[in-house]
């Protein structure tokens, strides 16, 4: 089982952000949808080990994100909506290499993996360019490149296309959906992207309202939006 939650709740300050969430997600691509404040991003951060559950049982790739956070982080990658906050190093190639820093690989291997990742994301020509001079789309591609260079088993993307135009959003989405052996949890407001996933999870007010085949879940979501 890839992601398993049993009666998980998350309380942040005085607010119950997730309430009694139980899920078993084994699909390769999972869309997480819902209105603002419904708990989608907290769910993404919870399974990414950035938020600690208040109650319940949780396992991601067979690991407890609270007790074995370091091991889990080596196997997953997170991508957020704001690429500026994900870029750390001054040039494109250095920023991609930064993702491998914790692995303490030999410099030859780092160079090879960075070069292959830049090539895959079409960033080779920009390798020596200052990272923060890139366009929004290029920055998000760089953030993805930095995530995928670690060869993650699970990619958790929280609204990765939120700030992008249609063309760049499609490029980013195509990379996320490309089957490189990774699983994908995609938090999104883009219902077209959600439809590309194998399974969709609908959150409302911190609870799971529905789980299943995306077309049916999106119809349910549309019905909620019409109310």
């Amino acid at each position: 089982m890839s992601i398993h939650l049993e009666a998980v709740s998350v309380r942040l300050g005085e607010a119950d952000v997730l309430r009694d969430v139980s899920l078993n997600l084994a699909a390769r691509t999972v869309a997480v949808i819902g209105e603002n404040g419904s708990g989608k991003s907290t769910f993404a951060r919870l399974i990414g080990g950035l938020v600690v559950r208040t109650t319940g049982e949780l396992s991601v790739l067979g690991l407890d994100p609270t007790r074995r956070a370091a091991e889990l982080r080596r196997r997953i990658a997170l991508v957020f909506s704001n690429p500026d906050a994900q870029i750390v190093m001054p040039t494109v190639a250095e920023d991609v290499a930064f993702s491998l820093r914790a692995d303490r690989l030999r410099s030859v291997e780092v160079r090879e993996r960075v070069s292959a990742a830049l090539d895959r994301f079409g960033l080779t020509a920009l390798a020596d360019r200052p990272s923060h001079d890139l366009s929004g789309g290029q920055k998000q591609l760089l953030a993805l490149c930095g995530a995928f260079v670690r060869r993650p088993e699970l990619v958790i993307a929280d609204e990765p296309t939120a700030y992008l135009d249609a063309r760049n959003a499609r490029r980013v989405a195509d990379h996320l959906f490309e089957d490189t052996g990774h699983r994908l949890v995609l938090v999104t407001h883009d219902l077209v992207l959600a439809e590309r996933c194998e399974v969709a999870v609908l959150f409302t007010a911190g609870r799971v309202a529905a789980v299943g085949e995306p077309t049916a879940i999106l119809a349910e979501y549309e019905a909620i939006l019409r109310c």
């Binding site: 951060r45 990414g48 080990g49 950035l50 370091a70 982080r73 080596r74 990658a77 997170l78 957020f80 704001n82 500026d84 906050a85 994900q86 870029i87 750390v88 190093m89 001054p90 040039t91 250095e94 290499a97 930064f98 993702s99 820093r101 914790a102 692995d103 020596d128 200052p130 990272s131 923060h132 930095g146 995530a147 670690r150």
Partner: protein, 199 residues
């Protein structure tokens, strides 16, 4: 993102960052120990210019650029020393200070930030016996350096937002929203670092 690195393939670029830092430090130390005399000022200026010309960083153009950056400290140094010490000592001391600054700048001009990060981490490793986390300290320095332009952009965004809403600029009306967006950025950056496997 703040980076002073100038891409190139000169001998200083090719030199490993540790020995390069040591060499430049030795050079700066040598210059600092020279007496305050006309001949020492001339020797220092010549040696510094030669290093810039041979380093493959853009020669005179880069040297003038670096001197231009420190023009105000130079002006203040010269003026105050002319007043109290006389022309020979004023010029010699100022040339020494300027040479030390522009020679030290060669380290960041010819070394990628990632190599600097490695060098700082290696350099701080002996301090681990005293409880210092060298990896974290090096990362802190790097992130500080690279976050300055992001904060500058956020400050610009806050000012633009205030202007767009017809607000009058005051320290308080700028500081509060700027602190909010800066702290939000710090939160996001922390998450991104954690997500990339950095402790």
């Amino acid at each position: 993102m703040l980076s002073f690195y100038r891409p190139g393939d000169g001998w200083l670029h090719r030199m490993p960052s540790g020995p390069k830092a040591f060499l430049l430090f030795a050079f700066v130390l040598g210059v600092s120990l020279l007496p305050s005399a006309w001949w020492a000022a001339a020797a220092t200026a010549t040696a510094t210019a030669l290093v810039y010309l041979l380093a493959g960083v853009g020669g005179w153009r880069e040297l003038s650029h670096q001197i231009l950056i420190v023009r105000w400290p130079i002006a203040i140094t010269v003026a105050s020393q002319l007043l109290f010490l006389g022309p020979e000592q004023a010029v010699a001391n100022t040339v020494r200070v300027v040479a030390a600054i522009v020679l030290a700048a060669l380290l960041v001009l010819t070394t990628r930030v990632s190599a600097l990060l490695d060098m700082i981490e290696r350099g701080l490793r002996p301090m681990e016996r005293l409880g210092l986390d060298s990896q974290r300290a090096a990362l802190l320095l790097t992130v500080t350096l690279t976050t300055i332009p992001v904060l500058a952009r956020l400050a610009g965004d806050v000012r633009d937002a205030q202007r767009a809403r017809g607000g009058r600029s005051s320290l308080r009306s700028f500081t509060v929203p700027f602190l909010v967006v800066a702290l939000k950025h710090a939160d996001e950056l922390g998450d991104a670092l954690t997500a990339r496997g950095i402790r």
